[in-house]
């Protein structure tokens, strides 16, 4: 393996190395001081994230099975940032007694899912893509079932793994058809051999259904809420941003590079599903009381908006999707960060519990508000820019109707985001959550999120950088 190979594959290799290091630390470390493993993992992840930004050559490895390019690198970097944030946010929770025996497992599993995602993004072959996606899912299911003393956690785990198995089955079935009609599983070969025939479309739809499952696109989304609610909050946040983001990235890459021939078909597919997704996600979110469930549906509808960037198949759309995922990571992790902090301190996860939060914990409320506004796309925070660019991407190809439906949907979403804001600022509570001080990790992570929410929008350089690396069909 040459150094060039290492450079190209450094994300995956470093992550694997990190996983092994954590494993070694687990085995040889002092069992009394396991909490240090958290810090160790965070430092490792921090280093990996930083290294990821070093310039890197683009190239193909393994006869085209592994592809690296600027776009894919930036996607991986974005995921790394998100993962790092999740890591930091997890510390308080992991320090609890009931979790103390599983700290290193937690990090190893998370890192291995990250390896899976990175591989899947760099895939040049459906096999790598498939293994990557499974590697990114199976450990997550175990993590969802991490709270072994909670029924809901176990339920979340089983629902995730079984549904995901079904979706993988459907996806594979679709892939088998694509294979049967093209004779190859290499991305660049498939795209050349694709025609607009029924069997291929059927294969594509099944493939799409499998992917849509991962992104929680309606009607393949039903697992989302239950899993999000049942899983530990950190895992929920990880699922809702990192897993989803990775799936969006790879779907986008595949759509753009493998399926340009049937662009009309997948545009229609996306058109229908994104409308369904936004609307259904929003409609369900309205009624939710549990914040995790609430954010689950919100993330479903967010996925619908993200599809608007995909639909055009244009450079702008791609840039806006990548950019939006970045913004979304900050916003959603900001919101989850607050939920995690409060959940850790009080165990409360309901919107009603947040009544009068502003009077006791103003900073947390403000961060939550900022994050929710960013999710809703309210200026001047980054979410506004993200949504604007997504819609611009769709409008560029003339999907004005879709944009209109999407923006009308943002009103519904604004409604329920405001419900939370209302709870925190306006509602009175007999028994509000008492003032508490979060530990350093929580505050640090939230600080990064806030900075991200605020800066990502205004600093046009971020978007421009992404834009320059993006490509259209």
């Amino acid at each position: 393996m040459s150094s060039g190979t290492f450079l190209i594959m450094r994300h995956e290799l470093l992550l694997i190395a990190a996983a092994l290091l954590v494993l070694i630390a687990e085995i040889f470390g002092n069992p009394e001081k396991k909490s240090r493993i958290s810090l160790f993992s965070i430092i490792l992840m921090g280093i990996i994230t930083a290294v990821g930004f070093l310039p890197s050559p683009a190239g193909e490895l393994f006869g085209g099975m592994y592809v690296s390019s600027g776009t894919r690198l930036i996607m991986k970097n974005i995921l790394n940032i998100g993962a790092l944030l999740v890591f930091i946010q997890s510390v308080t929770w992991l320090n609890k007694k009931e979790n103390s025996s599983k700290v290193s497992e937690y990090f190893i599993l998370l890192i291995s899912t990250l390896v899976g995602m990175n591989l899947m993004i760099s895939a040049g072959h459906f096999l790598i893509f498939y293994i990557g996606i499974e590697l990114a899912t199976i450990p997550i299911a175990a993590l969802a079932a991490f709270d072994r003393y909670k029924n809901k956690s176990a339920e979340a785990g089983i629902k995730l793994i079984l549904s995901s198995a079904l979706s993988s089955g459907v996806l594979l079935y679709g892939l088998s058809m694509i294979y049967g009609t093209t004779g190859s599983m290499y991305f660049n070969e498939v795209s050349g051999l694709f025609h607009n025939n029924n069997l291929q479309i059927l294969g594509f739809i099944f493939f799409f259904a499998g992917m849509a499952f991962k992104i929680s696109i309606v009607p393949f989304h039903l697992w989302t809420a239950d899993v999000y609610e049942g899983a530990p909050v950190n895992i929920t946040s990880y699922l809702s941003v990192i897993s989803k983001g990775a799936a969006v990235f790879i779907l986008m890459i595949i759509l753009f590079t493998v399926f340009p021939v049937i662009v009309a078909t997948w545009q229609k597919t996306i058109f229908v599903t994104s409308i369904l997704t936004m609307t259904i996600g929003n409609l369900f979110a309205i009624r939710q009381q549990n914040l995790k469930r609430f954010l689950a549906f919100s993330s479903i509808s967010q996925a619908g908006y993200i599809f608007l960037g995909l639909i055009g198949g244009n450079q702008l759309g791609m840039a806006s999707v990548i950019y939006y995922v970045l913004v979304y990571i900050f916003s959603n992790l900001g919101a989850f960060g607050v939920v995690i902090a409060i959940s850790n301190a009080t165990g409360k996860e309901n919107i009603d519990d947040y009544n009068g939060l502003y009077h006791t914990n103003p900073k947390l409320s403000l961060i939550m508000t900022l994050a929710l506004f960013s999710l809703a796309g309210i200026p001047p925070v980054a979410g506004f820019f993200g949504k604007f660019f997504l819609f611009t991407g769709a409008a560029q190809k003339g999907f004005y109707l879709l944009v209109l439906i999407a923006v009308l949907n943002t009103i519904i979403s604004l409604f329920y985001y405001l419900l939370v804001v209302k709870a925190m600022f306006i509602n009175k509570s007999e028994n509000p959550i008492a003032a508490f001080k979060s530990d350093f990790y929580t505050r640090f992570a939230l600080g990064i999120c806030v900075a991200g929410i605020v800066i990502t929008g205004f600093a046009s350089i971020i978007f421009e950088a992404i834009r320059n690396l993006s490509f259209g069909i």
Binding site: I158, K159, L162, S163, L166, S167, V170, N198, I201, L202, I205, F206, F208, A209, F213, V218, P219, F220, L222, W223, A225, D226, T265, K268, T269, V272, T273, I280, L283, F284, I286, R287, I412, F415
Partner: protein, 639 residues
Amino acid sequence: MINFSYTIWILLLPFLMFLLLGLAGHKLKAKLSGLLGTFGLGIITFLSYLTAYKYFFTSEKIDGAFQKITALNFTWLQFTDKLHIDMGVLLDPISVMMLIVVTTVSFMVHIYSLGYMKGEKGFERFYSFLSLFSFSMLGLVLATNIFQMYIFWELVGVSSFLLIGFYYQKPSAVRASKKAFIVTRFADLGFLIGILILSFNTKTFDFISLTNPSGAAISQGSSIGFLGLSVMTWSMIFVFLGGAGKSAMFPFHIWLPDAMEGPTPVSALIHAATMVVAGVYLVARMFPIYAISAPVALDVVAYVGAFTSLFAAVIACTQTDIKRVLAYSTMSQIGYMMLALGVAKYGGETGLGYMASMFHLFTHAMFKALLFLGAGAIIHSVHSNYMTDMGGLRKYLPITHITFLIACLTISGIPPFSGFFSKDEILAAAFQSNKFLFAVEYAVAGITAFYMFRIYFSIFWGKDTQYQHTPHEAPATMTIPLIILAIGAAVSGFIPFNKLVTSDGKILETGINLVIAIPSVLIGLLGIGIAYIMYRRESTIPDKLAAMFKYSYKWAYNKFYIDELYLFVTKKIIFRYIAVPVAWFDRHVVDATMNTIASVTQGVSFRIRGFQSGQLQKYAFVFITGAIMLAVLFIYLWK
């Protein structure tokens, strides 16, 4: 060319006075503010007389006609290149004549109020409002363009509103002021629409270019028809609506009697002498257009004027509140003026009506102000408005008695008092052009004499009423204006109006037409005679008559139920059947639609919750069917 630019002070002074008294008045001593206001108006009066002298006697005439002089003019608000509101001073015979009327009466009222309003709360407020009114009225009179006139027209309306509602804690005063404002506002709407139509066609607001009989503007729009009448006619009718509102012509007359809730000096100034004749002034101002381009509109003016004069005169006979009687009498007299304008034509002999109208306006201002101030003096001493509470007052109020008598004789058209001359001209003009209208006016002359002497006899003669406090003559501040006005009323008939104020500015040769003069004096005397019989002493005749014509009396007493009709329209129709339903519609239909969208969303959200059943297999089912349906859709249905 004479420099008239000082006339700006005629406008500025009262405005400054208004600001001074309005903003700082409560800090001054009450008496000082009154004196200040009076003094200010004195200066204005002086300036006005100066202007009148210079205009009529020293200004240059062209072709034997008085010229319209734009003393000063500046653009206040530019709409388009041609349409712009200017603020300025236009001097021509009628504006100068009005200047005299307004300042004279106003000055008298200012002095009079020093006594009448003494000790009232809000004395300085009263004077600031009076200043505001003077400012507005003068601005109206001197307007160089129709929009300026409209502006001051509105201001006059609001000062009238403020003054009627001066006793703002008295519900009836509040109601009356509101009514006055809204009714006139409604009429002003017509005025504004008229202006819009007029300016759309003529592309100018300027009076001089509008009313130039040979100018381009005057013929604009008379050829464009709309609903059977020319556009010019429409616009003039609409403009007249505005005039009718201010001048309390039927059917906009209802506010005037109620307006008597205001302090009596205000009634004298605004609701007798000056503001209410603004409508007449407006028609006179636009007269060339009426006469040349919109004769139909002019006929409307004539008939409305005639009807109102008769209608009001009849009601006046039945009222017992002396101020109300005077108010109806005012309406009736203004009807005279309107009629006179309506029957006139532009220029020459046929323009007699125009001159007569202006003449009557002038004399009427004098004697009606006198009447009101006299009534004020009476009320001041008796503390009642009702003539049923009065009687035999001649002993207690000698000066008031004499001046009031002069005024009554004047209005009844008895020579040599001024009313005789002006009314005679009007009747002559009516006789010239329309015998029917002449007949009406002739009858009205008789009725007028009757009802005026009805109150005269009831107050000063009649039964000897026992008063709780012995009535006493008013102070000098009140009697002096009475005397001055009485002199004015008596002698102003000798002013040669035919040489000064005519439709085309040229001298009009007129004389006393005995054929008309003698019968009119006779009918006046007849009216006085009947009144003498009925009211000189306590008599049962009026009651008998009232019983005999029970229903007609009742109708007239109740002012022909016009007020009730209005009340019905406003309260019932507008409020209950339009405004309330609109408000209801807004809340329960428009808003409800918006709320329904929200509740439907929530409802749908609730209904579809079954999809999220928590059952893994149902999820899978949806997944599979979803995939299959998408496949079917995109393979077979929507390829």
